[in-house]
C-alpha cells in the first residue's frame, strides 16, 4: 500500500482521560496526552499507546480487542462505548474524552467496581432449570427454530454494562436490577427448556424489578450487541401486570 493512504497516515489527536488514584482518595481529575494515531486505531489502542510510551500507571480493563469479552466499556465522548470498537478517527479534530463507565464507583482511573452487577447476576438464576432433569446419556433437550428465536437476541449479552452506564434510573437507584440483567433474566424465562420462570418473576415484580424503569430507552441505543434490554424490561412490565391481575382468576395461586 502506498504511503499516505487513510489507513497508514499518522496524525495526532488529544486524549483527555479521567484519572483517579484510590491511594489518595481525592476526587478524579482529567489528564491529557496528544498521541500519534492511524485511521485503523481504536480508543483502546490509544490508551495502550499512552500506557506503553507515556504513563505506565494508566489503568483500564481490556482483553479480547474484538467486542466480545465486554471488558473495555467506558464513556467515550460522554457516551458508553466499547473502547476496542470505537475509532479515534471519529473524534477528529479532538479532543476525545475518556471516562470510566457512569453510575459505577471508580476503582482506579478507568476501572469501575462491578460488584453490584455481579452480586445481582447471581440473583437472576442465570442458568436453565430443566423441568425433568435427565442424564446426558438420554440426549439433548430439543428446541425448534421458533423457540430459539424467542430468546436468542437476549442471549447475545456480553455483560459489558454499557446499558447500566446509559440508565439514569440505575444511577439514581442502585436497588434497580437494571437493563442488562433483566434482559438476561428474560433470556432464561423465554427459553422453552427452562422451568424457573415463576421464581424469577418474583424479582421482576419486586421493587427492584421492572417497575423502576421509566422507559428512557438509552440502554438499547448503546448496546453493542443489539440485545435491546429496554424491550426485555418493558415486555416484562406487561407480563408483571398480567400476573398481578391474574391473581383474581379462580384457580390461581
Amino acid at each position: 500500500m502506498p504511503d499516505g493512504t487513510a489507513a497508514t497516515r499518522t496524525r495526532t489527536i488529544e486524549m483527555q482521560v479521567m484519572r483517579y488514584n484510590p491511594a489518595t482518595g481525592n476526587a478524579p481529575y482529567m489528564q491529557s496526552w496528544t498521541i500519534p494515531f492511524t485511521d485503523d486505531m481504536s480508543v483502546l489502542q490509544g490508551l495502550q499507546y499512552i500506557k506503553d510510551n507515556l504513563d505506565g500507571s494508566l489503568t483500564y480493563r481490556w482483553s479480547c480487542r474484538m467486542a466480545i469479552c465486554g471488558s473495555c466499556g467506558m464513556m467515550i465522548g460522554g457516551v458508553p462505548h466499547l473502547a476496542c470498537e470505537t475509532f479515534l478517527r471519529n473524534f477528529l479534530p479532538g479532543p476525545v474524552r475518556v471516562e470510566p463507565l457512569e453510575h459505577f464507583p471508580i476503582e482506579r482511573d478507568l476501572v469501575v467496581d462491578a460488584t453490584d452487577f455481579f452480586t445481582k447476576f447471581e440473583r437472576i438464576t442465570p442458568w436453565l432449570v430443566p423441568k425433568d432433569p435427565k442424564p446426558v446419556s438420554e440426549g439433548e433437550y430439543l428446541q425448534t427454530p421458533a423457540q430459539l428465536e424467542e430468546y436468542e437476541q437476549f442471549s447475545h449479552c456480553i455483560n459489558c454494562m454499557l446499558c447500566y452506564a446509559a440508565c439514569p434510573q440505575y444511577g439514581l437507584n442502585k436497588d434497580f436490577l437494571g437493563p442488562g440483567l433483566t434482559a438476561l433474566l428474560h433470556r432464561y424465562n423465554a427459553d422453552s427448556r427452562d422451568n424457573a420462570k415463576a421464581e424469577r418473576m418474583e424479582l421482576v415484580h419486586s421493587e427492584e424489578g421492572v417497575w423502576s424503569c421509566t422507559a428512557v430507552g438509552y440502554c438499547s441505543e448503546v448496546c453493542p450487541k443489539q440485545v435491546d434490554p429496554a424491550n426485555a424490561v418493558n415486555r416484562n412490565k406487561t407480563q408483571s401486570a398480567i400476573d398481578w391481575f391474574a391473581r383474581f382468576l379462580p384457580g390461581r395461586k
Binding site: Y20, A23, E102, G217
Partner: protein
C-alpha cells in the same frame, strides 16, 4: 491490602449530560400539558352541564388570544408527545412477525405515527361537519 477506596460520581444535573436524556425529559414534561389540557376539557364539560350561558363563556375563553396561544402550544407539545410515544412503543411490545419476518422498530413507529395522523384528520373532518 488496603481497603478499597472507590469514588462515586454525583448524579446532579444528569439529564443535561446527554442530548438523549434531554429528549427523554422533554417527553416526560409533555405530560404536564396533557394534564392542563385535560383540566380545560373537564371545565368545558362542567360548563356544558351548567347550561348554555356558561358553555358560551367557556367557548369565548378558548377563542380569546390567550386561549388560542395555549392551544397552539398544546398542539406542538402533543405532536412531540405522540412522536416520542411511538418511538418508544416498539420497545414495549413482543416482536411483531408478518409473513415469517420480524417487523422493524422503525416500521412500527412509522405505522403508529401514520395511525395517529389519520385519526386526527378523521376527527378534524368530523368536527368540521358540525355548524
Amino acid at each position: 491490602m488496603a481497603a478499597r477506596r472507590t469514588y462515586t460520581r454525583p448524579m446532579t444535573g444528569w439529564w443535561k449530560r446527554d442530548p438523549f436524556f434531554i429528549r427523554y425529559m422533554a417527553r416526560e414534561a409533555t405530560a404536564i400539558f396533557v394534564y392542563l389540557y385535560a383540566i380545560v376539557l373537564v371545565a368545558g364539560l362542567s360548563a356544558l352541564a351548567n347550561g348554555q350561558e356558561s358553555f358560551e363563556a367557556w367557548l369565548a375563553m378558548l377563542r380569546s388570544p390567550l386561549g388560542i396561544a395555549f392551544q397552539l402550544v398544546c398542539l406542538a407539545v402533543f405532536a412531540y408527545h405522540t412522536w416520542s410515544w411511538f418511538v418508544i412503543m416498539p420497545k414495549t411490545m413482543p416482536p411483531v412477525v408478518v409473513a415469517g419476518k420480524r417487523v422493524s422498530g422503525g416500521t412500527l413507529t412509522g405505522a403508529g405515527v401514520a395511525a395517529a395522523v389519520l385519526a386526527t384528520l378523521v376527527i378534524v373532518a368530523l368536527a368540521g361537519l358540525k355548524p
